[in-house]
């Protein structure tokens, strides 16, 4: 496997032009040569460098998962579907205002609000849904701004561009909410911090979202525009399995689309993604199978443990044990995503030794290649 860092030309050749870009945003924001426009990363000019941070940080270029895991979590990359776990439970916000605005239990929003309040962070980088119902990045300095970001847009958005835009001198203590691929890019940025921009030393809290796949920004938005009155939309939801639908809330009215139809708009690159539970963050949050209004929470780091302890102490979260069956299913689903991704990659490269961007141990590779997978995988 080639591990050399390359430049922007190769980033476009190997990732973007091949449809592998995840829209994490690691390659844009402070680089004058690349921009995000209408769902695509575009090259305005060729920067002509043989090596660049864009290539280095991209989650779809060579990624040594053991190295990242060792450095951030203190253990090698976990073979288990849900990664390294310090604690796992279900939770929801005690604040009904948060719950009513949030996607499920409002755990993410609650933790960000708490971190702002107790000074752990003073800025949260989030993805909020704009008036046009498109995702956009937000650097929230206030509780009100964090509240505005509550709720999920299922369209991918390159939120890390907001990280790249933070001035080098900034002393902001940051919290961030990311999807799994964004978490990988963020991890790569933290491992080899750029010298020319903010080094992320001040990153104090990273919250990951569970993710099976994300929807294509451009194509799915067209679909929405043609099928619902966007002005009325106040929430999107993919209820946990076995619902198998995509709900668009418009006040009292809910319009449901079969998930199979919506899947047509997911990003092709998600098929090659190993991670369902955002393994390289402090805390990962998702839904709970069969339990409405609650979140599954996986704590992975000491920082994560600390803020959860705070939340308990201050009475911000209701916390319960996750039913065994839910945990088992979550693990199965996550492992299924991992194994399917590796098998899809091999199908694409046509070579069992060519895993594109992924660098994992041989053992794990063999295990994942041998795993029986279900074709679709839930969401």
């Amino acid at each position: 496997m080639v591990t050399k860092t390359k430049g922007m030309g190769e980033l476009f050749k190997e990732v973007i032009n091949k449809g592998l870009c995840t829209l994490c945003g690691a390659c844009i924001g402070d680089c004058p040569y690349t921009v995000f426009y209408r769902g695509k990363i575009r090259m305005l000019d060729f920067c002509n460098r043989e090596e660049g941070h864009c290539y280095e940080y991209c989650p779809r270029t060579h990624t040594d998962l053991d190295e990242i895991s060792n450095k951030l979590l203190g253990v090698p990359f976990s073979g288990a579907g849900i990664g390294t776990v310090k604690d796992v439970f279900m939770a929801r916000s005690r604040d009904s205002k948060v719950r009513s605005k949030a996607q499920y239990g409002g755990t993410v929003t609650t933790l960000l609000l708490l971190a702002l309040e107790n000074g752990l962070i003073n800025a949260a980088i989030t993805t909020k849904t704009s008036d046009e119902k498109l995702p956009e990045s937000c650097v929230a300095h206030s509780a009100a701004e964090v509240m505005e970001s509550a709720g999920s847009s299922y369209m991918a958005y390159p939120v890390l561009e907001a990280v790249n835009r933070i001035p080098k001198e900034s002393k902001d203590r940051l919290g961030i909410v990311v999807t799994p691929c964004q978490a990988v890019a963020l991890a790569k940025m933290r491992l080899n911090p750029p010298t020319q921009r903010n080094s992320l030393d001040n990153l104090r809290l990273s919250i990951g979202l569970f993710c099976t796949w994300a929807l294509d920004y451009g194509r799915f938005y067209e679909f929405l525009k043609n099928n619902v009155d966007l002005a009325k939309v106040n929430k999107f939801d993919i209820p946990p399995p076995p619902a198998n639908k995509f709900d668009v809330y418009m006040g009292q009215e809910i319009k449901s689309f079969p998930l199979d139809e919506v899947r047509n708009y997911r990003m092709a690159t998600c098929a090659y993604c190993l991670d369902m539970t955002a393994e390289f963050t402090d805390i990962s949050v998702g839904s709970v199978e069969g339990v409405e209004g609650w979140n599954t929470v996986i704590v992975r780091t000491q920082r994560g443990m600390d803020i959860i302890a705070d939340a308990k102490k201050m009475g911000r979260l209701d916390i319960k044990d996750l039913p065994d069956q839910s945990l088992t299913h979550l693990k199965e689903a996550a492992l299924n995503k991992r194994a399917r991704a590796v098998q899809e990659i091999v199908k694409k490269t046509g070579d069992k030794n060519e895993l594109m961007y992924i660098d994992i141990s041989d053992n794990l590779k063999q295990k994942l290649l041998g795993q029986r997978v279900t074709v679709q995988g839930g969401h």
């Binding site: 680089c31 004058p32 426009y37 575009r42 920067c47 921009r197």
Partner: protein, 646 residues
């Protein structure tokens, strides 16, 4: 610019060729001059414009060559000597009118068309030789061999034009038009110009008729009769001459710039006693008797001509009709590959041609010497990129166009046109321009590309034109686009000047050639009246211009227009102080690091910015920078700052 009006008959003055021709027109008593600017012809009209009021003549920059010649013909119809000037590209535009005025004939007073050719295409899209048009359309054509002739041929040609009632062409080339030489002045007559259209004047018609080209076949025959009569006249023209021995080993036949080159070559070869030169000033109709008598002097004949082998063709064709008893010459020239049929003549090329025909030894300087000669000026002249001036709005416009096309991502492209912005074929305009033809062609091509959606074509098409070009030849293309639902974006770079040819006014500038105020013809009103969506933006506002471009490109169908308006930097300078004081903070400048890699000096490349390889930072070249402020918005690090000058 010299004063072509100086009242000193008999004195010698230093004029460039174009000024000599303008002076010649004054000495011929012209009352009208119209033109469209184009190198190498522009100075004829601009120098006449300077004296127009004093001499009580009318001078105009016309919107294009076709209007220029038609308007000029009207002056002739109404009894004024009339001069129309253009470059060879313009000649192509006026062919249609020429093809009828040779049939109708002119008015009572002479009509001369001056065409400036540009061999080697120094400042042109092509190097077409205009001379063949004379044979093709039956138009008398003369060409000066030196500066004096450039002046003297004007009155001569007006006399011919009037005597025979036909339009005549004076052809010149860049090296005559733009070089400076001594000429002896003649007198400028005091003419009181009086215009009136005599409706029943027509020397060709047996009875009074309108000035018209029909019955065409009959008039065609008449033009041939006319041409034969002029041929007779040309036999004794003072502009044709033979120099050399009575029985030379070689006869050179030449004209125009070839005349001086041929004399130099014969001199250099010290072959005056072996080579004779027939220099023709009246090229068409060919003075056949003169030519035949000269051909009989020598066995070998060599044609020395710039670009096309015109005389070579017509003379060989003429000689092919000689009776068997006549002398049979051996002809050399382009057809024997002794000379090229492209590019400019050089003394070396002429010498090489001669020594290729005659066994004369010539020791040219060695290659080392040539290298030395070439290196001398390089010590004094900086090696510079062919680019827009510092502070030029075009650089900003193309930056915005580039960004918009890249962001759109459908591999859109620019169809180019003729003006300074032609440089956008290269790094000056970030290689955005992908086609380059003649004036107006970019918009025509865009019309075509924009119709190909039905065949799967999905790229955005952007036609970029200048303001002068817009009035010259874009309007019909836009009408066509709107009418036929073509899908393209027209960008008009409105810098308020015909910058490439020397800042001639045009219909949008609110000034005439004679310096009088004129109604400013609004291009946005024209475009809107045609039915196109029009957006006006300031290219120095890069963000907004890019956004506007994107919005236009993304429009689903129809011809739409962006007017990028900003005064040409060279015009602004004459009127205003520099708007900003530019500074670079070396601490912030990233230089060659990731995150910039010299975006300003490597991609943007305004000559006002220089890369200091030692410091690894960009610097402002304070002498060259025009402090426009655009680079401050390019720099991703905010290292370049602009401070408004109070």
């Amino acid at each position: 610019m010299s004063n072509i009006d100086i009242d000193a008959p008999g004195s010698n003055q230093l004029f460039i060729g174009n000024e000599a021709m303008a002076r010649g027109a004054l000495e011929a008593g012209v009352g009208w001059a119209s033109a469209y600017p184009g190198t190498p012809s522009s100075e004829i009209l601009s120098s006449l414009a300077e004296v127009a009021k004093k001499r009580d003549i009318y001078v105009e920059w016309s919107v294009n060559e076709k209007v220029a010649i038609e308007a000029g013909a009207a002056a002739s119809f109404a009894g004024l000597r009339s001069l129309v000037a253009m470059k060879m590209n313009g000649l192509n535009v006026v062919i249609d009118f020429l093809s009828t005025i040779i049939l109708s004939g002119i008015g009572k007073k002479g009509l001369v068309l001056m065409v400036g050719d540009d061999p080697a295409a120094h400042s042109s899209s092509n190097e077409t030789d205009s001379r063949p048009v004379s044979k093709w359309l039956d138009i008398p054509l003369v060409e000066p061999g030196d500066f004096q002739e450039a002046k003297d041929m004007m009155p001569y040609l007006y006399d011919i034009s009037e005597e025979f009632g036909t339009i005549c062409i004076l052809r010149s080339v860049t090296r005559v038009a733009h070089a400076r030489g001594n000429i002896r002045l003649g007198e400028i007559p005091k003419v009181v110009h009086k215009a009136r259209f005599e409706q029943y004047y027509d020397p060709a018609a047996p009875m009074p008729t309108p000035i018209m080209c029909i019955p065409s076949s009959f008039r065609h025959m008449f033009q041939h009769v006319r041409i034969d009569k002029i041929r007779e006249k040309f036999e004794t023209s003072p502009y044709n001459k033979y120099v050399g021995p009575e029985k030379p080993d070689l006869l050179i036949v030449t004209a125009g710039s070839g005349w001086l080159y041929s004399q130099d070559a014969v001199n250099a070869l010290k072959a005056e006693d072996r080579i004779g030169i027939l220099k023709l000033g009246t090229l068409w109709p060919l003075p056949e008797k003169l030519v035949k008598s000269c051909l009989s002097k020598a066995d070998k004949v060599l044609f020395i001509e710039e670009t096309d082998p015109f005389l070579e063709g017509v003379i060989m064709e003429f000689a092919a009709g000689f009776s068997p008893e006549s002398k049979r010459n051996l002809f050399y020239g382009n057809h024997t590959r002794h000379l090229n049929s492209f590019g400019e003549l050089t003394p070396d090329a002429v010498i090489k041609a001669i020594t290729g025909v005659l066994d004369i030894k010539y020791q040219p300087r060695d290659a080392e010497y040539m290298k030395k000669v070439e290196s001398v000026p390089q010590q004094y002249v900086m090696d510079r990129l062919l680019t827009f001036c510092p502070g030029c709005p075009h650089r900003a416009s193309f930056w915005a166009i580039k960004d918009a096309l890249a962001m759109d991502g459908r591999h859109g492209f620019v169809t180019g046109d003729i003006g300074c912005y032609t440089m956008a074929l290269g790094p000056a305009g970030f290689f955005q321009t992908r086609t380059h033809q003649c004036m107006g062609a970019g918009a025509g091509l865009a019309n075509g590309f924009g119709q190909l959606r039905r065949f799967g074509f999905d790229q955005p098409v952007v036609s970029v034109v200048g303001d002068s070009t817009f009035y010259h030849s874009i309007i019909p293309a836009l009408v066509n686009g709107v009418h036929n639902h073509s899908d393209f974006t027209l960008v008009i770079l409105d810098n308020g000047a015909t910058a490439m040819t020397g800042f001639q006014p045009h219909p949008g500038t609110g000034l005439t050639a004679m310096g009088e105020p004129a109604q400013q013809i609004s291009m946005e009103n024209i475009c809107r009246a045609i039915g196109a969506r029009v957006e006006v933006c300031d290219p120095f506002d890069l963000k907004n211009t890019t956004r506007t471009m994107l919005d236009l490109i993304e429009q689903k169908e129809g011809a739409r227009v962006a007017i990028m308006r900003r005064t040409c930097e060279l015009v602004r300078q004459k009127k205003e102080e520099k708007p900003y004081k530019m500074k670079i903070d070396p601490e912030k400048c990233l230089g060659e690091d990731c995150g910039c890699n010299r975006l300003c000096t490597r991609v943007f490349r305004c000559p006002g910015l220089i890369w200091d390889p030692v410091a690894g930072k960009t610097k402002i070249d304070e002498v060259i920078c025009n402090e426009c402020g655009v680079c401050a918005d390019i720099c991703p690090e905010g290292a370049i700052t602009k401070e408004a000058v109070a």
